[in-house]
Symmetry: D5
Subunit: 144 residues, 10 copies
C-alpha cells in the first residue's frame, strides 16, 4: 500500500497504468468477461465491482482528448435488447466527475468489443455481477 | 467465476487451496504485512478485508484437528501492548461457526510469525487496514 | 482436495474453469485425441473417462444460453459411418440433467472439430477408450 | 496412450519413471498428503486410487534388492493409534505379486516420512481417500 | 530404463510418443536432416540408426488406418535420380512385420517433406549415415 | 506517467514500493555501490541523484516508527576518516521535512551495510557521484 | 558506471546500442509515448529529458549516411496544427554538432511513427514532458 | 577448448554447427551487420575477423554440393558502386582451398541479404572492420 | 554432424566438453545410474554403451596430469563383492591407448561416487547394461 | 560496435563492467580455466588473449585504491614450481601503465583462486594458451 493511492489498486495494476502511454487502452471487465482468453495482460481484481475500479483509475490518468470517444461500452445483444444496464449511469457520473470536458460514451457490438479488448494494453478481471458492465478507457496525456 | 464458490476467491487462490495438503499453512495477511518478502507464494487480494477472505476459505477446507492450535495470530508488540484488536472477535466467530470443535487461537510474537509465514505454503496479501489482523490457518483432512 | 468439489478436478483444471468467461470453450478429449498438438492449454486427466469429467464440470458452470448449440460432438467419419457412439447417450443425459433448458448437441466434421479445439481455452486429455467421445462445452454466464 | 502401458500412467509420469535410476525413490501420496509443498517434482493423478497406480508402476520397474526395505509406509500417529489401515493389505498383495523375493514393508513416523518425501525423485498426488495410504517405492536395477 | 521398453527410447521420447494422438506425425530423420531448423520438438538420438528406432517405436503404437499412406519417405532428388536407397527395404520389412494390413509407403519431394516435417509433432535426430533415410510415421488409434 | 506521482519513479519502482510492507527496507545506492551483486531486486535509475529519489519515495510511504533508526547511512571508512559527506545534511532535511517525529540517522560500517543491503527488499541504483551517499529506508505503516 | 561514458546511459542501454548495427533504429520517446505497447525492447529512463539522452547516444555512434534522413520526428497532428515544438531546435543543434554532414530531419505522421517504432530495435522511455518530443535515430557505420 | 578444434570456435558455436543439417545456412557477419535484429540465433565473436572464422568453420563441414552457389556475398550498394572489397579474394582462397569442386560465389542485394539472414540457422557477429564482408555458407552433407 | 567428430557425440555434449576446464569432471554413467537425480547437467545417450562414449571423449581432451588418479570407478558393493566387472578391462585399454602416461584407476565406494557425481560438471546417461560400469573422467590441460 | 570502445568488448561484457560497483571483482581466465563451473556469470571471449582483454577493461574502470592488492594472480603449483609465467610481466606493464599508483600483484593458491572466482561478479573465458594466465581485477571508484 502507498499513501494517496486507492487500496483497490494492486502493485501490478499501478505498474501497468504507469507503463501505458497516450492512446493505450485498458478494459475493466465484469466477472463473466472472457478476460484470460482475450487479454494480452490480465490483472485480476476478483471480488471487486467495476465502479470502484473505475473511480480509482480516473484519479491516476486523464482520458484521451484527441479522440471523440475515449470511453467504450459493450452494446446489449439481440437476446437482451430491452435491457438498459443501470450501471452505465454510474459510469457516466464517475467519468464526468473526473473530467473537465463532457465525455460521450460509445457503444460497440459484443464481438467488436472482444477484438478491441485483444488489442488493449491490459484487461482487469473484476467480480462485477452486473451484465454488460465492461468498459474500455483510452489514456490521455499527462501534462504536469 | 464458478457456481458455489465465493467471488472473492481468485483462480490462482483456489488452485493453491486445492494443492495444499494436511498440515500445510496459509497466511491471510493485512495490508501492512510484508507479504512479498516473506511469502513463498503470494496471492494478491488488494482492497479486500481479512474476514471476508477467512469466511470464503473456511467453506473450502476444515482446520487441522491433529494439532491443538490450527489458527495463529500475531501478538501485539510492546509499543501497542494495550491494544485489543477488535477484529480478533470477528475471526473467532467466523472460525467457530465453521467448526464442530471449539477452536482456541494461539498468539505468537511478531518475528516468530514472520518466520512461520516464510514456511507457509502461501501468503494472501489483502488490503485490510486493521492492525494485527494477520492470521495463519493450518489445513485439515478432507474426508468426503 | 477441497470440500464440495469433485476429486477428479485437479488444481490446474479448477483454475482454468474459473478463468474461463462467457463464450469460452473447453474440449473434453478422449484418449486418442491429439490433445497436445491442438490445445492452447492442456490439462491431463489420464486414466479417467469422459462422462465423469463432464458431470464434474457441469456442477461448476452452466452452458451458454446465448447460442443454439453450446455442446459440440465430433461427427463419425466415412470409415465409421455406421457407428452410433453409445457414449453420446450418456452425454445427453448428463448435460440435460444439469440444465433447465433442453440442450441439442451439434455434430461437426473431424477436421472442423480440430480447428475449433485449437481455438478453445483448454483441452482436457482423458483416457477414454470409446471412439468419437470428444465433446466441446461453451461456458455460460454465472448469475449468482 | 501407448500399447502395453497402463492408461493411468501419464506422459510426464512415464518420463519420470524412466529417468529414475537404482536407489531413486518415488512417493505415491494419498489425497491429503502435502504433495506440492514436499515434492521436488509433483505428478498429479487427481481422482485416482493408490492401488491402481502402484500396480501400474510395478509393471515397469523392480524394487531395489540392495536394501532390506524397498517399500516404506507412513506409521499411524498417536491420535489414530488404534487404526489398522486396511489398504496396507492391498499394497502387500500387489507388491508381493510383482516380486520374486518376499518384500517386508517398513513403517516410519509421519514427519520422517515428510523428510524422506522431500528427498524423493518425485511425488505422485492421487485422490485416494483412505488415511495413511502414502507409500514410498525404491527403484531397483533393470537387468534385461 | 524400464521393463519391456527398448533401451533406445529416451525418457523424453517416450513422453512425446505417449502425448501424440490419432493423426499426429513423427519424423525419424537421418544424420544430415536439418532437424533443429525444421522440428517443432526435436529429440536427439545421435549415433543411432533409423531402423532400430523405427522398430522400437512400432512396438509402442500402430500406424494410422484412416489414411492410405501412414508412412512417408523423402523422394530422391534429380542429382541422385538413379539412387535406390537400400534402407527402404529394411523399413518395408519392419513396418509390415508390425502391421496386420499391408502398408504402402508414399514418396514426396524433398521440399514438401521439409514442410511436412515442420508440421509434425516431433523430429527425431539420429546419426544414420544412409542417404534419403528420413521417414514419417502417422500414429493410429490405441484400442486396448 | 501518472497524475500526482513524481516522474522519477519508474513503473517497476512504484510496484516495488507498493509491494513492500511494514519493516521492509530499500536501499537508495550511489553510482559506485555494487548494487547488482548485492541486491535481491535492483531498480536502475542511472543518471539520477539520491536526494531527488529520496524526496519522491518519502511522498509515498512513512518511515517505520517501531524502531529507533528507520534510516541507515554507510559510515566513512578509515581511508576517508576525515570526510564529512555534505549530502547527509540534505538527507536530514528531506527526511525530517517528511516526518512528524524527529528522525535520527544511524551509521553502520561499510561491510555491515553490504550485508544489510543483501537482505533489503530492493536496491535502487542511481548515478549519484557523491561518496558515502548510500541510504537505507525502513518502511512504516500505512494507516489511511 | 564506466570512465568516459555518460552517467545517463544504463548498462542495458549501452548493451543495446552496441548490439545495434548499420541501419537499425532506436526511438527516444517522450513521457507520453506508448513505449511499452510499441517497443520490441524497452529501456526505461524515467525522469530524464530527451536532449540529454540524445547527446549521450550521439557520442557513441554516427548516424546512417546511406539514407537521406537518418533522423525522424513525429509530425504535429491536426488538433495541434499550430504548435511549433521548440524542443526540435535543440535536437537540430545536438544532431548537427555531432555530425560532419548537414542532417535534415524528416517528419512523419503520428500513426506511421508508431508503426516505425514497432520495427525499431529499441524504444527508450524518458520522462520528457514536451509534446511531440519523440525522435528516431538510424545507426550508421563504425569505421575506426 | 578441445583437441583439434580451433580456439576461435566457442562452445555455443560448435553446438550450432553440429545441429545444422543439409541445406541450413549460417551468416558470418562483419562488425557493422545488424546481427541481433536479423538473426534467429546470434553467436557473438566480437573482436575477431571473418577470414579466421571462415577457415575454422570450413574445417568442420563441407559446402552444399546440391546447389550452384553455396556461398553468398552482399553486393556493394549504389553509394559504394566502385568499391572492390579486397577481403573477397581472401574468402575465395579459403573456400576453394577447402573444397574439391570449384566454388563460384553469388552476390545478392543488401536487402535481399538481410531477408536471407533472417531465415538462416544462425548469424555470427564478428568485429570485422572491412565493409561488405558478410558471407553466407550453406552446409553440405557429411558422408563419413 | 561434423567432420572428424564421432557421431555418438551430440551437439549438447560437445558444447559441455568444450566448456569444461582443467580439473572439471564428467561421469559416463551406466543405464541404472540415478543420473537425473545426481547430475547438475545431464546429457542423455540412451541406448549407447559406455566404451564407445569413453573412446569418443578421449579423442577430444587429455586426462588431468596434475592428480594421481584422473579416472574413478565405482567399487563393487558388499552384495556383489565377488563380482569382477569385465568392462573395466575395456576401460583400461581405451584409457591407456589414449594416454602417454600409464593411468591407474581409483575405485571409490558407491555413495562416495554419488557425492562426487553431484559435484561433476555433467553426467552422461547411457544405456549400458553392465553393472558397475560408471566411470568419472577429470579433464586435463589443452596445450596446443 | 561503438565509437571509442575496444572491438574486443562484447555487448554483454560492457553491460557487466558497467553494472559492477566498488569492490566487485572480475576474473579474466585463460583457456584452461574451469570458467563455466566456477563463474556466477560467464562471458565468453573464445580465441582472444588475456593481455588484450586486460588493456581494454582498464580503459573503462580504475582499480580499487581501498585495498592493498586490487590485482590477484594464480600462484604456480608444486608440479610447476620452477615455472616463471612470462605473461605476468605483460600484465605488470599494462596494469601500471593504466594506474597512477604503483600496483603490487598478489599471488594466491590455485584452489583459493577458484573460491575467489566463485564469488566474483563475472568470469571472462578467453582462449589464452599461456599457463597460470588467470587474473582477477577489483573495480575501483569512478569519480568523474
Amino acid at each position: 500500500m502507498l499513501k494517496g493511492i486507492s487500496k483497490i489498486i494492486s502493485p501490478e495494476l499501478i505498474k501497468i497504468l504507469m507503463e501505458m502511454g497516450h492512446g493505450d487502452e485498458i478494459v475493466i471487465a465484469d466477472g463473466n468477461f472472457p478476460a484470460e482468453s482475450k487479454g494480452q495482460r490480465v490483472v485480476r481484481l476478483d471480488g471487486h465491482k467495476v465502479p470502484e475500479v473505475l473511480s480509482a483509475i480516473l484519479k491516476l490518468f486523464p482520458l484521451d482528448s484527441y479522440v471523440d470517444n475515449p470511453v467504450i461500452l459493450m452494446e446489449t445483444t439481440v437476446k437482451d435488447k430491452d435491457l438498459k444496464p443501470q450501471i452505465w449511469d454510474k459510469y457516466n457520473k464517475i467519468v464526468n466527475n473526473n473530467s473537465n470536458d463532457k465525455i460521450e460514451f460509445k457503444q460497440i457490438d459484443r464481438f467488436d468489443f472482444y477484438k478491441r479488448a485483444e488489442k488493449a494494453y491490459a484487461v482487469i478481471a473484476t467480480g462485477e455481477m452486473a451484465l454488460y458492465a465492461n468498459i474500455i478507457l483510452k489514456k490521455g496525456i499527462i501534462t504536469d
